[in-house]
Symmetry: C2
Subunit: 353 residues, 2 copies
């Protein structure tokens, strides 16, 4: 596949997997799908695992209720992104000795409320002591469609959509990790199960924005050997409060796509011939997908910015958190320098490796 | 159920689960099964999650290869204990920044070797940074029998078996955590998949010895409203090196049943009418189950010790690690005081709450 290894995160995963044979029951290869797709008897199982640890250590998540809500949401979102119907979740909790009963109750309440919201169930779990709080969820779902929806399959000309408004994940992250004066507390994302099931009937590919929009488009670009061009009115996809928040901090709004704390919307592509049928069904199901742009044959992510169509250096943006080695102020400084460059010297384009 | 709550571990789990509704797809209640049993379309899925964290913090596991081997083994063992055929495992790895590439390679080698041993596959995973190493596995398997094997179902008169020799888990734990002079390094347990699949055709209940024999029998006693009496020759079930090791340290051999670091054998019961058919099939399949004793109607765990039939206070033994609050020397001292009591004042019997 086209230079998946230019992204440090992909390199790390490929290195960890290098000695492993794939199961003959597994229908997806590494990176190709938000959830693993497993053939069982005559059915298809979607299964995924995701932990919350760094987010707690950095202070991004400090409310036990939100941590409980998120461990369900991040896993169910991956089930939604393959169009599956969630069956339930197993959760392993590593709890420090001094965590306290009230905080445990809040954590469990967050998990329970999220299960109720998603009409899904806690199927099992494990508890263990540890130095710091770590939660690991594993969600399972059933794929009822014949056609499997994964990250693979979009073609030049397909229309690019988001299942909803973006940017609140990154506004929240800036508020928690950087800004000392302005706070943005409105963050309680929803896994898009109903959306995923409708989308899966029409979409050529789909991925959730757990790592923000640019990381999502970059990964889809590498997997599909195709690129994306956003519409001129891309600001319409940004959450109103998030855009207001970025303006108060003098941050360019597109930065809300670049940060890697996502909003768990689904980014997907619809072949033009299915557009009408898709929109008809979303109307019937009261869904509100937002048209973001289109798939292009160039392997680039292009955004109309500062009166030019800028090819964003998505590899630079994705690798920046690791390059910045956890220094979030340095990370933001580098992002803003990049913004300055595309604003004032757009001819000096980076190109994505 | 009969006083499951006398065991602090069960209390904790029940408290965590108190707000949760059960899935209509789930066929087992809490505590009743080593793996969760989920009805999917026309098949049955076994799924389980288990973490390794405390074992690393206490120094019980310090070899990355063994940690990798164990995260697969402890999860596949739960799949084996319900008689399922493993399909694969997902593993989330929380890795400290300073862990080092060589250790990561060893960890992955342990995971890979265990997958090969169990003819199973790594299906997916997640990596995250954290303060200390935490691994969480989630294994899935398919149940092909019509009859579901769980921890429930044994009746007075059934014969009690172990799938193999016991005691090396606790000998290893003593060696790692207590003894400064004698070492016992022979610990690389095997999940008993082939055994589980044969056992599931005949057994009235089954559970793995992940927490040692006495904890296993205590939990089965509480779930089944029945007890267990070990045969006079119970020492035959102890691993030769483990018994030698306990003798060198002047520890009574039955202590190897009491510690809570198990050997991942399967403890199961066979109704007398199936004994011959079961033994015939184990011979054919080259399995070596060991007859341990029998199910009795009294809700007690009785072991012939010091020329008496002693009813062991299994609740005291199971709760002791938590009561000792991590002080392993105090824990062993209390266990040895209990041994002194049953040896010298057997009339002063504890009774299990």
């Amino acid at each position: 596949m086209y230079k998946l290894n230019s992204i440090i995160e992909n390199q790390k995963i490929n290195k960890l997997l290098s000695d492993f044979k794939r199961s003959p029951h597994q229908l997806n290869k590494p990176h190709e799908s938000d959830a693993e797709i497993i053939k069982l008897n005559d059915g298809l199982l979607a299964i995924t695992t995701d932990s919350i640890s760094e987010e707690i250590l950095t202070g991004l998540y400090d409310d036990p209720y939100i941590i409980g809500w998120m461990i369900v949401t991040i896993n169910i979102s991956d089930i939604a992104a393959v169009g599956a119907l969630p069956i339930g979740i197993l959760i392993s909790e590593i709890i420090p000795q001094d965590f306290g009963q009230e905080k445990i109750r809040e954590l469990q309440k967050g998990i329970s409320d999220a299960c109720i919201m998603y009409k899904t169930f806690l199927l099992g779990g494990d508890t263990n002591e540890g130095e710091s709080l770590v939660l690991t969820g594993t969600a399972i779902g059933i794929i009822q469609n014949k056609k499997i929806m994964s990250r693979l399959g979009c073609k030049s000309g397909d229309i690019l959509y988001s299942s909803g408004k973006l940017g609140d994940g990154n506004a929240y992250a800036i508020s928690k990790l950087i800004s000392e004066t302005n706070s943005f507390t409105k963050y309680k994302p929803l896994a898009r199960i109903k959306e995923g099931r409708t989308i899966s009937k029409y979409a050529s590919c789909c991925m959730d924005t757990s790592d923000g929009l640019i990381a999502t488009l970059d990964q889809l670009m590498r997997l599909n050997n195709a690129g994306f061009e956003l519409n001129n009115n891309w600001q319409n996809v940004i959450d109103d409060d998030a855009i207001e928040y970025s303006k108060n901090l003098n941050l360019p709004p597109w930065i809300l796509f670049a940060g890697q704390h996502g909003e768990f919307e689904l980014i997907f592509t619809i072949p033009t011939e299915f557009k009408n049928a898709f929109l008809k069904e979303t109307l019937k199901n009261e869904l509100s997908p937002i048209e973001l742009g289109r798939v292009i044959s160039d392997r680039e992510v292009k955004i109309p910015l500062y009166k030019e169509l800028i090819s964003i250096n998505t590899a630079f943006i994705r690798n920046l958190p690791i390059e910045a080695n956890g220094d979030i102020n340095h990370y933001l400084k580098m992002l803003l320098e990049y913004d300055y460059q595309i604003k004032h010297e757009p001819s000096l384009k980076f190109t994505s490796p």
